[in-house]
Symmetry: D2
């Protein structure tokens, strides 16, 4: 069977009818269902008219009656009988849901808990100084948060290098892009988007490790034979004052070769649903992850979908600099001093990672081939134009056809990455979004 | 950084020199190193001359002296200083290894344990009746074995369907190819190969679930538009007596459509090294996994690499039958009655999953595109011809060029699969292997 | 700009209205338009009511009046003014068409000729003995036919090998798959399908040439490095009596290696429209061409679209035998004795090459990657099931999902090839087509 | 058989020994061999010692004696007997070559002519005003040159749009990227490189045609379904004074959408060897062709390999502007006023098209998938660094790993295109090439 995707509900309710009496349960809830030991998370929108409550659950509309603190629900799809019962207590409820798959199997009863979607916390944003002591090698929803923050808060912390060594060169964890985090963002729910502003990325040591070969995805037969498949580690010196990198032991023709540093985060991710497993920190997907995109630098904003309550933000795998694609398998791997400000865009789903900077908006595609990643990048950017600029398919084709730019962002890992970009100067003439689109939506 | 692959040692020792005095530590050992909490496993070959012991560890040769039950080791690579010390007690040792990466970082000290590679257990093979009560959704090295068997033993058990329902239709676990297992195979070590003979696959209920659309990887623009992206579940009736499947609710033109059942295992895997994470049961790789290859049927033998002690064998995701590639995303998903005999081929590494039946040997390639999977399948089958038939690259090209057959085995999942096959009738004229190659090697 | 595809008309007319008086121009016509020196061909369906004539031309409906042997036409699309005038003489007409592209450019006047689609010629099928003296290296519509045949006729001839040498070993033409043909099939028009039955393929010499390396598309990094990019010619001996091939100068392990011959045509093609250029005989496309599919053997029927009047059938590039994909770049290249029977299926368009044999129907996909070829193969076979078995998209998905088989048929050339097959035993239960589908349609 | 590549000779001679007496035939010659009616071209280097002449021909070393104006040659490879005889007259010779393929076929005799490679013509460069009257739809070596120029000369001319219409909107030729040219460059020989400096590209009318859909290669399933496969022509207005383009009939959200023009050549090509056929003007390859790369603008230099005497330069398919990849199939197609200066780099072979501008050098990869084009682009740029900067494979990996930039340049045509770029600012620190590399080499 193909990989399971657990979908609890994707039914929005048009429900404006419950305006008469002040609804007590109406609104957005966060729900966690225990499916044979695996929690699955989703948002649910409840409507209420008197004591009658309606919501989309398990892919169907359920309606119920709230009486004496107990909500009894019944599904409306005759082919897939479903029912539920929950004790309601203020902004929380807990109970069971019994559902049938409609294909002859027995119905199953699951326990669930739900809580009302929180409103934005009061008070001014905070700045958190965080010194990591544990590093994770999976973008897992099951790792305990290392810190809880509110939307708008800033985190100042550090990351170890991809091999697990910190700013002093001390190995702290087994290599493979160990991550700082996860950070729990209060109020973040499945269906939201996290906007991570990269406030500062600063080198905190004066060397980096890389390799001197090109990954298999990048070599044609001629290059493969020239390179003979060999790869050895190479050490680079980082001149932090001048902002330059140079080989510690150059070859005959690279003695004077210097390249400006441009620190970037190779990995940044939210935790995906636990039902799909816990991707290793070398992998990537709609949750972000090991994207190795060299525009994730100081000043950029990364947008990632929220799949679990609190979002669970991870980042790591700092690179002093990197050409497109991370073609050596390792970029200039180093530890970093990191400062990010995290904002929440409630109720907006993004189909995959997006990046925005001063000049461009960018949609990323991640897939098993560059060809497939290319198609996904177009889909991601087109969805952006459709939602935030209300463009029709024809208009999207015309705008992209005249203004899109493509980058191959990642070739070193299991997923290849392609980025489809469009200049804000072009978008400005579309008239609908004088403000940067996501930021506008975030208010 | 690209995904980490932890390599402890891949150094074979030519060591015939230790023939004089009976070696006490010489031979093959299984080693487990604790790397910041993550165990990594490997085989190590020790040679011994008097009290001098030599072996390949951490990618370099280490030599040492055994005195008073303590083995003290020193690495031979001046660029990467390494040393170790272990208490030896019979066929076990435990101690520490201190290594430097040679790139300026601090050296690190890891605890390790090792045990001598076991010899084949005495006694006749057993037949185990196993009734599963727990089902796993990751091919994890960290799941506790449900049963320990010896090489040569047979397991008779059942699998739930991909959605988690058993032969009675009762949901037992969250869907997504839940697996029966893992089974611990005594004596299996990293560097070995597991040969799983599919003795019997029998339907144990009279229905299956599938879908009525073609997965995105399989549709060109014309098919995509015709199919409109819709997919709905479809229920098939399984006539176990006649061995036929037919739609429970056929369309206008499929009322008489019948297709013979051919039960197969969609998933069969050994656990990969824990350092790489725990792949979800919808994924595949060199460890096997969710390959959905419709030749993994009764009578076939599957070869999988052993990466952790005990191999940790998983299987599940039974299909009543399936066309090539599992193009509906779901095949005819059903529960199965399964009987397998498990053998061990010590000291043989296979680069990826292989299958053998009465007529063919088959090498599988699994990758993010069909093009890449195709290349990997050729590499797998070519390595088979090189090792077991001693063919040169030119001879391999000539034999494959005249006799290879290709199947696209999987398009439904993250990895596409391609199988490169060659008929045993062709191999028979190569003269070197009158017996089936892997079986011969297994003696 | 992307490659031009010239489409003259694709408008079918529903026209049942002209039943009263016996129409003189009504019916199917073959039209040739001279577009600045390049002929473009198409079929046109004319309807007639009294002196009023209607037809689809240049992508729009044109109507006109026939008076005194002159037909004057006027287009119905106000955005793209079009008009025409032709002298009509029996079953032929010639004149001019003036069209505007509707985008501000000046209108253009083109000369055209048209002739009524011929009915099947009377008389029994003939057998033509044809001894080639000229060989073509492009599947060109502009090469003069070497022989004109009627549908149902049989051609008995020979082909030179891919290098241009004949059955005596004499070089006759520069290598690169030189073709025998083109054969002009009376009555074949754009919009028809040619069915070429391979009656006999017989070796006519006792040696073949091949190579001893694997093409770049077939090697992963490991195989590339082992093969070192080298390829040298290899000569095979063909034992015509026993039907076996063996290396003339075997390696150490291939001295006894023998493989049964299975003669096949590497190339078979109809000429594409001249507006698209003339593909070299190493290329392939919807017209067929250098497909190198090892099921194009004695007993098979190949279906190819007709794009120009007379179809212009080419074939060549005989292989004594070949593994899937022609992975050596050259198969066992040899000259052949060829006998084919050619039939015409009027009014049926096929999207690409198809093959049928005793047991299976097969749709081929040809594209720049195996992934794209795979999608095209599904599209081709799905269209077959849709047209000849009236299956809906859901039914197609269900039938293919349970019964499709995939072969990678070509990796040696610019286009990769994939074949999607389905057994006739499966189709038999669909009920609609007790006779082989294309043959039935051909009556 | 895979597509033929005719290789006459690739043997360079180390021959410094013939320094004593002034050689009369020694040096570089251009040779044309008639292979069954198809001319094949190559360069040959002859060495001479007294009356003894040596050269590489047909893949082997041939030696001979010059006596009485007749050169008699004998091959040195005993497996492939070869001989030749030619009348020599000043800087020209003509005769026959008899060669065997070494595989049992009969030897073949071919007529050939050769002429000494010309030295650079005297005199200052000229500027040619050229008004095209004929337009070609194939990059053919067999089209008669429309103009002969000397290296260093400038051509000022015009191109029609991709549909065949000129600056007045008048259709001049059947659409499909009709080309201006071919231009014959005196002294250009196979083995040379042509450097075409784009001096000026100027719009010469105020409208362009495009489409409003995205090509199949660019859409994922979601975009495919949204776009429904429809595409209709769209007309853009070009404000030549302000340098802006805008839709003539905008949609609801694109009324104010404007984008700066940036005129580019969609096609630029040299003719490939006639043995490989004549690619249609919608195709691309190592000869250049329909690359649709939006950096081929005023100020850029394009490098293309010379495959036939005179190079035969073609260009056309002007775009007023284009986003990356020409994703609409048509860019903003328009006629152009074109001025190019053509230089010759003798004795330098480039593996595929290259582009250079003020800031970057760029290697293009063209192949059937983006993945394969990506690999080819790396190979092209790596070969540039290897030859002009003498970098080793390790150094190439290090420089590209830290500085390469990737663009997806073409997705609309049969070949996808990827461009690998590196900034000259990075190359400057490599020290070896203070001047632009190709220009330096051209002196």
């Amino acid at each position: 069977m193909r990989t399971l995707t657990v979908v609890l509900s994707a039914l929005a309710l048009a429900g404006p009818a419950w305006a008469q009496s002040p609804p007590s349960l109406a609104g957005r809830w966060s729900i966690a269902v225990d499916r044979f030991g695996t929690p699955t998370y989703d948002e649910v929108f409840l409507a209420q008219d008197g004591d009658k409550v309606t919501g989309g659950l398990f892919g169907q509309i359920m309606t119920g009656v709230l009486a004496n603190g107990t909500l009894r629900l019944q599904g409306k799809d005759p082919k897939r009988p479903a029912s539920g019962e929950a004790k309601v207590s203020g902004d929380r409820m807990s109970g069971t849901l019994t559902v049938s798959d409609g294909f002859g199997g027995e119905p199953t009863t699951f326990a669930f808990t739900a809580s009302r979607a929180p409103t934005a916390p009061a008070g001014p944003p905070k700045r958190h100084e965080f010194k990591p002591t544990v590093f994770h090698r999976q973008f897992s929803a099951m790792n305990a948060p290392v810190l809880t923050i509110a939307p708008g808060d800033t985190i100042h912390t550090t990351t170890v290098d991809a091999g697990g060594s910190d700013e002093t060169g001390k190995p702290r964890v087994l290599g493979g892009n160990p991550q700082t985090g996860p950070f729990y963002v209060q109020g973040a729910l499945p269906g939201d988007t996290l906007a991570i502003h990269i406030v500062r990325l600063k080198l905190n040591r004066d060397w980096a490790i890389s390799d001197d070969a090109i990954v298999p995805r990048g070599v044609d037969l001629d290059l493969a034979l020239k390179g003979k498949g060999a790869s050895k580690p190479v050490r680079w010196r980082l001149d932090r004052e001048k902002g330059l990198a140079m080989l510690e032991t150059p070859g005959d023709h690279t003695g004077a070769y210097v390249v400006p540093v441009r620190p970037m985060l190779g990995c940044i991710a939210t935790a995906p649903q636990p039902a799909g497993g816990a991707p290793p920190s070398g992998d990537s997907g709609s949750y972000g992850g090991n994207m190795d995109f060299n525009e994730i630098v100081e000043g950029a904003t990364v947008y990632l979908p929220v799949s679990v309550p609190g979002a669970l933000l991870y980042f790591g795998d700092g690179h002093a600099l990197q050409g497109d694609g991370e073609i050596n398998g390792n970029a200039l791997e180093t530890s970093l001093d990191v400062e990010v400000r995290v904002e929440l865009i409630p109720g907006k789903r993004v189909p995959g990672p997006r990046v925005e900077n001063e000049t461009h908006i960018m949609g990323m595609g991640l897939a098993g081939s560059i060809d497939d990643a290319y198609r996904a990048a177009n889909g991601n950017l087109a969805a952006w134009l459709e939602r935030d600029y209300q463009l029709t398919p024809s208009e999207i084709a015309e705008v992209l056809g005249t203004a899109v730019e493509y980058r191959i962002s990642e070739v070193a890992d299991r997923n290849a990455g392609v980025v489809a970009k469009i200049a804000k100067a072009r978008l400005a003439t579309l008239g609908k979004a004088s403000k940067p689109p996501e930021k506008a939506a975030a208010k």
